[in-house]
Symmetry: C2
Subunit: 203 residues, 2 copies
DNA sequence: GTCTATATATTGATAGAC
DNA sequence: GTCTATCAATATATAGAC
C-alpha cells in the first residue's frame, strides 16, 4: 500500500520530491504570469501545500528562484543547441535559429535572461546558476564565431545584438505589444530568425 | 505672504498643481526603480503627501500610469525625432539613431514600450495615450520607409526589429545583464545605433 | 483638496505543534 | 517535513474630518 493511496480528494500531504515539484510548479507559474507576478505563496497554493513548506527546502524566495533560473538556463541552452543543429549548414541560418529558439523559450516559459540574470538570485553567488549562464553565453558566442565574424570582440557584439533582439521580441510579445490577433508565436520567432540571420550576414 | 511661507520643515500642505507633480514624481520613481517597483503609495511618500491624496486626481493606479505613459510616449517621440534629425542625411543612420534614442530614453527614464503599452493602462481606452502611442509608431514607420524599404509590410517588419532590438538592449542593460563596469549607456546606445543601421541597410 | 484612519489583500518569513 | 497560526511590511482603495 503506497503512501499515495489516500483518497483525500485534492488534499495531498506527501510529495515524494517536494524540491523538484517546487521547481516544476515555479516554471508553470512563470509561464502563466511572468516573473513580476511570481511569489512563493502562489507556488505553494498551486501545489496544494502550506505557504511555509517551501522554506524547508529553499531558505528564501531568491534561493528558489536561483534554482529555477539554473534549470531554465540549462533547458534554454539545450533548446538553442537543438535549434542550431536542426537549421542546416549555413552558420548565419544557425545563428538566426538560435534567436528564434530563445524567443520560443522565453515566451512559452516566461523565463529568459531576465530570470537567469535577475539581480536577487545572482547576488547569491550560486555556482550552478553561474555555470549554467556561462554555458549558455559560450554557446551563443560559438555560434556567432562560426559565422566568420572576427575579431572576438565583434563576435561578442553580434551576440549582444542577437540577445537584445530576441529578448525584446519575446518580452514585447508577452506584454502584448505585438497584438496576438495579428502575430502568432511562430510569426515573431520567424522575425527573430530573419533579423538574426541578417545581423550575422551583414558583417 | 505666499502659501509657501510656512516653516514646517518638510511638511508641505499645498502643491499648486498636484496632478502635474504626481506625473513628475512618478517619472522619477520609474527612473529609479522601474515599473515593477512602482506604487501610488511610494509616489505619495516621495512628494510628502498622504497616500490618499493621489486618488483625488487619478481614480486608481492605472489611470495615473496611463497619464504617465502618455507623457512618456510624447517625450520619447520628441527624443527620437530630434535624434533622427541630428543624425545627418543618410536614412539608415537616422534609423539607427532612432534606436539609440529609444535606448537612452528607456534606460534613463525607466519607461519604454513596457510602460506605454502596459496592459492595465491600455485597457482603460484612454484616447490621449492611444494617440501618443500611435504617433510614436508612425514616426518610426516613416523613418523605416525613408530607408527605401518596400513594400510597407517590410517597413513594418523593420520597425518591429528596431523596437525589439532597442527595447532588449534597454531592459537588459537596466537589469544588469550588460555589466555596468564594462558597458556605459553610451556604449549600448552605440550598439543599438549600429545594429539598427545594419538592419536598415541589409534590405 | 488634503489629511487621518481604516478595511482588505498579499507577501515573505518564522515559531511551534504534530 | 509538513501543518497551523501568526507577524510585520506593503499595497490599493475608501470614509469621513477639516
Amino acid at each position: 500500500m503506497a503512501t499515495e493511496d489516500n483518497e483525500d480528494a485534492g488534499r495531498r500531504y506527501h510529495h515524494g520530491d517536494l524540491p523538484a515539484a517546487l521547481i516544476r510548479t515555479s516554471f508553470e507559474l512563470l509561464a502563466d504570469n511572468g516573473l513580476a507576478d511570481f511569489s512563493v505563496a502562489k507556488v505553494a497554493r498551486r501545489l496544494g501545500i502550506s505557504t511555509a513548506a517551501p522554506y524547508r527546502h529553499y531558505s528564501d524566495r531568491d534561493h528558489l528562484l536561483a534554482a529555477v533560473a539554473a534549470a531554465a538556463a540549462r533547458q534554454l541552452a539545450a533548446a538553442v543547441r537543438a535549434a542550431a543543429e536542426g537549421a542546416g549548414p549555413d552558420p548565419a541560418d544557425r545563428f538566426g535559429a538560435a534567436g528564434a529558439a530563445y524567443v520560443r523559450f522565453a515566451v512559452s516559459h516566461g523565463a529568459g535572461f531576465d530570470v537567469i540574470y535577475a539581480a536577487g538570485p545572482r547576488g547569491l553567488g550560486d555556482a550552478a546558476l553561474a555555470a549554467a549562464g556561462r554555458e549558455l553565453m559560450d554557446l551563443l558566442t560559438t555560434l556567432a564565431e562560426d559565422t566568420g565574424v572576427r575579431p572576438k570582440e565583434d563576435a561578442l557584439r553580434l551576440v549582444g545584438d542577437l540577445v537584445a533582439l530576441a529578448h525584446g521580441y519575446a518580452t514585447l510579445y508577452r506584454d502584448g505589444f505585438f497584438p496576438r490577433a495579428r502575430y502568432s508565436l511562430d510569426d515573431i520567432a520567424a522575425h527573430a530568425a530573419r533579423a538574426g540571420r541578417e545581423l550575422a550576414a551583414g558583417r
